[in-house]
Amino acid sequence: MEFRSAVNKGPPSMTRQSDMLMTQRALEKVRVVDLTQHSAGPYCTKLLAGFGAEVLKIERRPDGDPMRGRGPFFEDREGPERSIPFLWLNTGKKSVALNLEDGRGVDVLKKLIAKADVLVENFAPGEMAKLGLGFDTLSAINPRLVMTSISSFGQTGPYRDFAGEEITTYAMSGCMDLTGDPAREPLASGPASTQYTAAMWGYIATLAALFQREDGGGGRHIDVSIQESALDNIEMALAERLHLGQTAKRKNDKHPLVPWELFSCKDGQAAVIGGPMRHWLAAVDMFEEPRLRGTKFAHALGRIEHRAEFEELIRPWLSRHGKEEIFHMGQSRGLAFGYMASLEETRACPQHESRGFFVDVEHPEVGTHRHCGAPFHFSDTPWRSARAPRLGEHTRCVLGETLGYSADDLGLLHDAGVI
């Protein structure tokens, strides 16, 4: 690759560098073979695609990623191009549809893997080996391959073959026991938080391996456990268990600091946060309650000690004011207030509006739709905003351009039901 050989001659000059950077995405020229499906794998490869990698999403014929069959669907009408979670999770990827039951399909896949930098998969452990695609086999084909495997419980251990859904890993990581009301059953996370954080860990591991490989190392096989990624999300509570023997439990979102939670107000709920704590005394007059100036509430520890009394004193003022007004009043006094926003309010959020967080993409089947754009902004290497591919949309183009298949080759594979 000319781009890399230029770098090997030494760091480019500043002019040269900025010229290059303006047109480069951070992961330009990284090729990813993406065997993922559902959520955890696809969000990882969505990030890779957005930052510039060429992501070849291998979809098993005839139905492709099972997520295509899962709702909610655009306008509530089913169809492989209408699954909303699929449309979100697969932006910027190329779809290559292959029949992996057929040895010729597996051969095509192996040829793509031979030319790839990265393979990401989230099948049940052992499934890749059954397809003849275990790491040892692939590593023999491509010694520089970084293979990232994301699974519910990891590639080893007694629960390796356990079936896992989002609620299973949330439950078995301790997160669910900490969510909800102590008088009721533990509560699952609404969004698939364990899948998504594991997806990001998959991204981290993949990038770390690519970074290390630039120094001449080979590829490696990475094991990402969704259960363990969920455990990491409660790292401090877990450390306190391991070191102090304390077992935190769910407690209705009561926070140890006061005030540090949602309170009812005139038109909804305001997040009244007494921190950064050094700003409290200068802000307290906003509640128009002289008793809050009493010495017993002056220090954060006093507010914790007299929690119930304190909370009663702020409620009357809160009930007279709206959540957004309270938010801005608290923030203007340096306190980290917030408010309970509906999705409608999130869509209209002035901060999102100002930063252009939501962007429109055009899709041949479902038309223009608005989604979150870049997760964050690099000053020099832009995010690529794109739509999700139609099933098999890029099969011929990828096999032709990347593997050099002729129109005749492609015709034969098509007739044989391989592509």
Partner: protein, 404 residues
């Protein structure tokens, strides 16, 4: 140690609380030399409310959240100590901060300032609301960002229940912070160019936890969540009482075949042909009734036994674990998940959710003592005389709980 992927990468870490420090901990775990800059007169909130007997050095939460980092105390308003920061940046690959928008710039410690000192520096800025826009100067904590971004609207026992926290805000932003730095490091390794990263925690939570639900709202004007413990597509799914106090099992039936298997486990074969339950749609309609049938069976049984019986049939079932059970989990132990710190201090730590042959990712040291690395950083890294190291005067140490 030398096998770690980020070995040789140095980070000047100006973050505090949990989001930024979580990003830095991940990079430290991967081998980066993370130098955490602390302001002794107002320590991080994770160091607690007290200073007596240096109790601020002894919190396990601190040891965990700031493991694999060094601690250096600096007062950035003192010109001499500010010079030390500049010297550190000069030998760093990355600088990170998560203060409110504008704070670093006002201190003369923004990207443009550091870029002058170190042209290829990578700087991660991850304020709560981002570095631009009308709310950029606003402060944020997880308890406020979670409702404000819309995330909290999606979790509740049912549609009429109050919305509950999942408390994933700081860690999610932290993980994405690590993603961003790794991406920039890889890019720099190939091109030589550093850059600035503008990250808004408000946006990260939306993108990486509920982007699909925002898209549903944008496209259809509808909102599937919250659904309590039920699943949007599969039925039944729930959390069911087991034998003992506060013991629960979760299970998900993903196909009609799994439903049939569950009927066998429940010893209710006649339900297999019951039209009320035969399809996913009919099971969803009669979910309340199914929940009662399942709980009648689980409530007298041990949750782990139930989990194994169901898993043997291929059903996604898990015993709800509390932290004590997690710490004792046979699977995690068999995977070598928990670790001792290599610094000889007692106790076990959570591991990392990624592993690979050749990567020896360890808790090399627990979270550092306040200013514990001042002398070594100044002499060994900066080559300055030890007299230049900031001296920690215990009378000047203050906490995040103090009034100003």
């Amino acid at each position: 140690m030398s096998d770690l992927p980020l070995s040789g990468v140095r980070i000047t870490d100006l973050t505090h609380y949990w989001s930024g420090p979580h990003a830095m901990r991940i990079l430290g775990d991967l081998g980066a030399d993370v130098i955490k800059i602390e302001f002794a007169r107002r320590m991080c909130v994770l160091r607690g409310a007290f200073t007596k007997d240096k109790v601020y050095d002894r919190h396990p939460r601190w040891h965990q959240a700031n493991r694999n980092k060094r601690s250096m105390t600096l007062d950035l308003k003192d010109p001499r100590q500010r010079g030390i920061l500049d010297d550190l940046v000069r030998i760093s690959d990355v600088v990170a901060e998560n203060s409110r928008g504008g704070v670093m710039k006002a201190l003369g410690a923004g990207y443009e300032d550091f870029k002058r000192i170190k042209p290829d520096i990578i700087m991660l800025s991850m304020p709560a609301y981002g570095s631009t826009g009308p709310w950029s100067t606003y402060a944020g904590v997880g308890g406020a960002l979670e409702p404000t971004c819309g995330l909290q609207a999606l979790t509740a026992y049912d549609k009429n229940d109050k919305r509950r926290r999942i408390k994933e805000a700081d860690v999610t932003s932290g993980i994405m912070g690590a993603c961003a730095v790794l991406t920039a490091l890889y890019h720099r390794k190939r091109t030589g160019g550093g850059q600035w990263i503008d990250m808004s925690q408000l946006e990260i939570l939306s993108h990486s936890l509920f982007g699909e639900h925002l898209l549903e709202f944008m496209m259809n004007g509808t909102q599937t969540l919250p659904l309590g413990n039920r699943h949007a597509n599969y039925a039944p799914q729930g959390c069911y009482r087991c034998k003992g106090e506060d013991n629960w099992i979760v299970l998900t039936i993903r196909s009609d075949a799994e439903w049939q298997a569950l009927c066998d486990v429940l010893r209710r074969p006649e339900m297999k042909n019951d039209t009320r339950f035969r399809t996913r749609e009919s099971r969803r309609k009669n979910h309340d009734e199914i929940d009662k049938l399942i709980e009648a069976w689980t409530s007298g049984r041990d949750k782990r036994e139930v989990m194994h019986v169901l898993q043997e049939r291929g059903i996604a079932a898990g015993a709800v674990a509390d932290l004590a059970e997690v710490a004792d989990d046979a699977h995690l132990r068999a995977r070598g998940y928990f670790q001792e710190a290599r610094d000889g201090t007692p106790g076990l730590y959570p591991g990392v959710p990624i592993s690979a042959s050749g990567w020896d990712i360890r808790v090399r040291r627990r979270g550092p003592d306040l200013g514990g690395d001042n002398a070594r950083v100044v002499t060994e890294l900066l080559g300055r005389p030890v007299e230049d190291a900031p001296v920690l005067n215990e009378n000047d140490v203050g906490t995040a709980f103090d009034n100003e």
